[in-house]
């Protein structure tokens, strides 16, 4: 039993750990990209311009309504097709380029993450009490100063619980990239299953690893929340 998961040529421990490494890298790379797009979309949804606002709301509605796996295939196949068409136009005799599954995974997961993050951020911006903004205005702060000194510092505190959930969803959604042949934890498990013919054992181990990742994340998130709320008076 244990030799199945040992290191080296006999066991699958090293392959599974390598897959776990890809999963973690994918999640950690996607997070900042998704946050950045999320901020931009939240900015659109909060804009005073009606057209921009419709754009922001349209984006979040669309991306939250589509299955993640459909988005992934659209990005993976669509961008691949576009790249090849562009390359063929530039230099017809060039070999077809391959859009890396890792990049496709990051782009697709970031697009989905951004739609949900934009909603969390929008809510967090609106959660800043009106009185504080009026106070800022009363002492003569410019809108920009109000943004940087009053709204943004509190955003973290209001957005953290929602962002925590999104991080857990992101960790789990990374499993989808195994479908486009990226060697993440899920795919490493699948390869091991193909050789050992012990699907239940290996998929159970994969599940337990994901579970552990989520439990550790939850622990870290509750620490962060405690820290973020350290200056808040409790009734």
């Amino acid at each position: 039993m244990f030799e199945l998961f040992s290191y080296g040529p006999l066991g699958w421990g090293d392959e599974i750990l390598a897959g776990l490494w890809v999963t973690l890298r994918l999640a950690v790379t996607t997070l900042p990209v998704g946050l950045l797009i999320g901020f931009a979309v939240a900015g659109l949804s909060l804009s005073h311009n009606r057209g921009l606002r419709a754009l922001g709301v349209g984006y979040t509605t669309l991306m939250r309504g589509l299955p993640e796996i459909l988005t992934l295939f659209i990005v993976y196949n669509g961008v691949g097709l576009l790249l090849n068409r562009a390359m063929a136009m530039l230099s017809p005799e060039a070999a077809p380029v391959e859009f890396s599954p890792f990049a496709a995974g990051v782009v697709a997961l970031a697009l989905v993450f951004a739609a949900f993050a934009a909603e969390v951020l929008r809510g967090a911006f609106l959660a800043v009490p009106e009185g504080q903004i009026m106070a800022g205005r009363a002492i003569g702060m410019t809108p920009r100063q109000i943004f940087w000194r009053i709204k943004l510092p509190q955003l973290w505190r209001f957005a953290l619980p929602g962002m925590g959930n999104l991080w857990l969803n992101l960790l789990k959604d990374t499993a989808l990239v195994s479908v486009i042949a990226l060697d993440d934890l899920m795919r490493a498990t699948k390869v091991a299953v193909g050789v050992t013919k012990q699907p239940f054992t290996f998929y159970l181990v994969a599940c337990l690893i994901y579970w552990l990742l989520c439990l550790v994340s939850e622990l870290g998130l509750s620490r962060l929340e405690q820290r973020a709320n350290r200056g808040v008076r409790r009734a």
Partner: protein, 235 residues
């Protein structure tokens, strides 16, 4: 118009896929909805010892990717082929549609239980005391006060969960179920016609939006006693 041509050629398959997606989602959500109320009650009012296995189940489901859960059941059952055959269950587990419904039901049940628990705990204590005061039995209090209130409170969150389940049902395509996603991938792999993804996206959005509208209608009916005009003489 290439887009229209694609639809004209493929609509029977797409409609068939929509039917399968609806069947997967509907069956999964319905089975989960039947198991959720007693579990939610246990989760809200049971002793810590009785709750322990339920908490572990919910944490596991929430902490692992639904794709991994699907692989665990569909491929994992192969490891117990002999045992399942002697129980006469092998035929059930060999069919990917059955496995997908089973996984979606188990998955959704965990989320629905937690949502309904929130609803049960949000019922005003005074209402329950009032029921007891006029001599209702425990069961009658549950049937006529606790659950009607709990469902009304939990309704929007339950709707969100069913939409998430519909999106997740696209994963069944990975284990060769021909739902909308499966049909789309099949058509794309034969024709490399990228516009099929556009129609898949449109159909998924149409399903989501119609569901949201239906759910809101039902919500209005559930809370019809609260939204009406205030009777005269009552402030």
């Amino acid at each position: 118009m290439a887009l229209i041509d694609t639809l004209a050629q493929n609509w029977p398959k797409l409609i068939d896929g929509v039917g399968t997606t609806l069947a997967l989602t509907g069956l999964g959500a319905l089975i989960a909805a039947m198991a959720a109320p007693p579990l939610a009650l246990l989760r809200a009012q049971g002793s810590a010892l009785a709750q322990a296995p339920l908490r572990i189940y919910i944490s596991f489901i929430r902490g692992t990717p639904i794709l991994a859960q699907l692989f665990l059941v569909f491929y994992g059952s192969g490891q117990f082929r002999v045992e399942l055959q002697s129980l006469g269950l092998w035929g059930f587990f060999r069919d990917p549609f059955n496995c997908a419904v089973l996984v979606f039901a188990i998955n959704s049940c965990a989320y629905q239980t937690e949502i309904l628990r929130g609803g049960i705990q949000a019922v005003a204590p005074g209402e329950i005391e009032a029921g007891r005061a006029i001599g209702m039995s425990r069961l009658t209090v549950l049937r006529r006060i606790v659950f009607p209130h709990a469902y009304r409170i939990a309704w929007p969150a339950l709707g969100n969960e069913i939409i998430l389940l519909m999106k997740a049902s696209a994963l069944a395509s990975v284990v060769t179920v021909f739902d909308l996603m499966g049909r789309t991938r099949q058509i794309f792999s034969r024709s490399f016609d990228f516009s099929i993804y556009f129609w898949a996206a449109v159909l998924y959005l149409a399903m989501t939006i119609s569901f949201v509208l239906l759910w809101r209608l039902a919500e209005r009916r559930l809370s019809r006693h609260m939204t009406g005009q205030t009777p005269q003489g009552v402030q």
